[in-house]
Symmetry: C2
Subunit: 421 residues, 2 copies
């Protein structure tokens, strides 16, 4: 064939793709999370209508005024001045040794255990940590036990690994070990239990010490891995949370996912898995992305090394406690008959039960008042079937003045929503 | 039970994990890439023995002296000053819109096609791009056709998705379309063809225009996706490479993986996939890591927006051409009878055939001379069975003075290795 004939046949041949159904090419796992279905918008928040001065109680994101911008900027400048060639070169899938040893020192101290840098692998935030754990350990049809409700992003990750997700109920002291035991005993192939033990997302509860011990015992007995999502563990309002599951288990059978997203900034996208060395090595094997940026990791290590992280946390913890109280007060004053909730001991969220109205209706009417937050059903596997009663209010990004306005606005939303019931 | 009894039962119960075989918990995919096998060290380079002034010709990494440190430092400073809250907050799995539109503009111009930001998703380098493509499209036992030899990291990624990898031979004008056609026709479930069409890793060859057209026609006819790895495409020594497969296909059925690793710095870990919008949306669905750092992405967008990338490339291209020539000259002068190679038109590598000695022996003896490079077998699925004749010499990081020393050192290595044959 001549080049020109080939060229014209190429142009013709491009057509088959235009009619092609992408769904026939996608993996089962990709289809399970909605790939190839452009109409599914994924997680949706209540839409913000044309309201004056909207108040956003949506995401688990630090207060933008607290972001350590100057110190981070200085850290990047210093790293690029002191070690530009190391910072701008592949750093390996385990991550920068200096950051991993800083994590070993810090987590070892706060958890009262002995850790080395080999107990850590650096990931794209704790979301990347959980995805990497699934890549290594979750085979299609493996059972993953989760709290009901739980973080919607992790639910998506488990579904995207074709796990059978089994929700287990929780109460004000966290998930119920007896329910975990029943789930383990009634099913084959239970691979892991996923728990946000400290300042739970979305409920704000903290797993009690006796239940922690029972969970560790139970999972060791059945050789079920515990994935401890510690995203919010640094954000305590008073006493620190109970000992970590990792510490209680002596590091055996627990993979702990951590992140700088809540303690510093979500945009850093730097998190980690803490685990037994052979587990960390296994996670490194399934990292195909050649690691995250050593520049970011070195800047954070510099920031930690100069004591900035602890100083920063000492500043932001009382702020979040104050914000939590401001929201609780505003709700109690103005929404008394419509809401039930318990004050969190840390983290970014208040989990509010709606009395006399469906959460979906409350969220929709609240949006008309300029108040944006997710309904509780987003945090369940079965969505609305499982929960029409709760909403999750994040108090982390709104100002104290805005939080004082939540009660009146939510009351107006309830007054309309109750009528629809 | 009392707390103290629980505590002691916890300590006892941790023991089952100490005897546990991690392999019984790992996925088939993780086991396929060596997870749970601590003795397998993965890709190994020839060890550097105690030699004076070692010369490293190992990785596909830019010259450290060229790293745009000052401009990047300035870009980070500027982004953190101008938009700290956006830079330090979740940026979404698709990536920063400003970087994606800069990519659309730049790639559209250089490839002579029309692209929008919706044609791009930002990833952890091109390695992350290829892993994400596999997450969405490669089901266990799907066939992935690759060039023989090919980039070892991508081979690992395909194996880690349980693909059946089918190598296809290449010559000095790149992979052989007839061999691709045979592979497609002889097997079910051929899902994709992976090619480094420009300045191939490890061989340095560039796929000819007529073969590009034939490959595009063939793959469209059989609805086989093309994954075009363009990691080295910006590093041309003279004329730019032929039109991209993406451009020849009118964007249909081709996913093109790009990166700033070679044009700027490997430590940025920022790459992308360029593809039809519905394919990009599908890739976004299988990203469970909540995206890479918007701070990095904004700093790079700032750098590009100020015209720095094109200026930088105009500076480094002649340098790499000069280095390639220096290495070719040194080999021709000192290793004439022992080596056969073709000069590359771009990229970082020279693929050298060893005459009269096994590549493994040459590499081992070269290490004793202080010369470090990988043997060719690392770039084949079947390793030593497939290739005992080649070595890959990267000329990108060594200085011109060092490159002039390669010939004499390699000659000494050959002289000893030939004797062993």
């Amino acid at each position: 064939m001549t080049p020109s004939r080939r060229s014209s046949s190429t142009e013709q041949a491009a057509h088959p793709w235009q009619q092609a159904d992408i769904r026939s090419l996608l993996t089962r796992a990709a289809l399970a999370v909605g790939a190839g279905s452009p109409t599914d918008a994924g997680v949706s928040w209540a839409p913000l209508e044309a309201a004056p001065r909207p108040i956003v109680l949506a995401g688990g994101v630090p207060d933008p005024e607290t972001l350590p911008v100057a110190d981070l900027s200085e850290a990047f400048r210093r790293v690029l001045e002191a070690s530009p060639q190391d910072a701008l070169r592949y750093g390996g899938v385990l991550g920068f040794e200096g950051l991993r040893s800083a994590l070993a020192e810090r987590q070892g101290r706060s958890e009262g255990i002995s850790l080395q840098s080999d107990n850590f692998i650096v990931t794209n935030g704790s979301a990347g940590a959980i995805a990497t754990i699934c890549d290594a350990f979750v085979e299609p049809d493996d059972v993953v036990i989760v709290e009901a409700p739980t973080f919607s992003g992790s639910l998506r990750t488990f579904r995207g690994h074709l796990a059978e997700v089994v929700p287990v109920p929780m109460d004000s002291r966290g998930l119920l070990p007896d329910a975990v035991a029943s789930a383990i005993e009634s099913r084959r192939r239970v691979k892991l239990v996923y728990t946000v033990a400290d300042y739970h997302n979305p409920t704000g509860t903290t797993l009690s010490l006796d239940r922690r011990r029972e969970l560790v015992r139970l999972c060791a007995e059945h050789q079920v891995l515990i994935v401890e999502d510690a995203a919010y563990s640094d954000i305590s309002f008073g006493a620190p949370p109970p000992p970590s599951l990792y510490a209680l288990a002596g590091g055996q059978g627990v993979l702990k996912a951590g992140t700088f997203s809540k303690s510093m900034a979500t945009g850093l996208r730097v998190g980690w898995v803490q685990g037994r060395q052979d587990f960390i090595e296994a996670l490194a094997r399934v990292r195909f992305d050649m690691g995250t940026s050593p520049l970011l990791q070195r800047a954070i290590a510099d920031y930690i090394g100069r004591g900035k992280l602890e100083t920063h946390l000492r500043e932001v913890r009382p702020l979040y406690a104050q914000k939590c109280d401001a929201l609780c007060r505003s709700l109690a004053q103005d929404c008394g008959p419509y809401v039930r909730f318990g004050r969190a001991d840390g983290g970014f969220f208040l989990w509010v039960e709606c009395v006399g109205a469906r959460a979906q209706d409350v969220a929709r009417e609240a949006a008309r008042e300029g108040l944006v937050f997710p309904v509780g059903s987003l945090f369940y596997l079965d969505g609305e079937q499982a929960d029409t009663a709760h909403v999750r209010l994040a108090f982390s990004t709104a100002t104290l003045e805005e939080l004082a306005q939540v009660g009146p606005r939510l009351r107006a939303a309830f007054e309309r929503a109750v009528g629809e019931r």
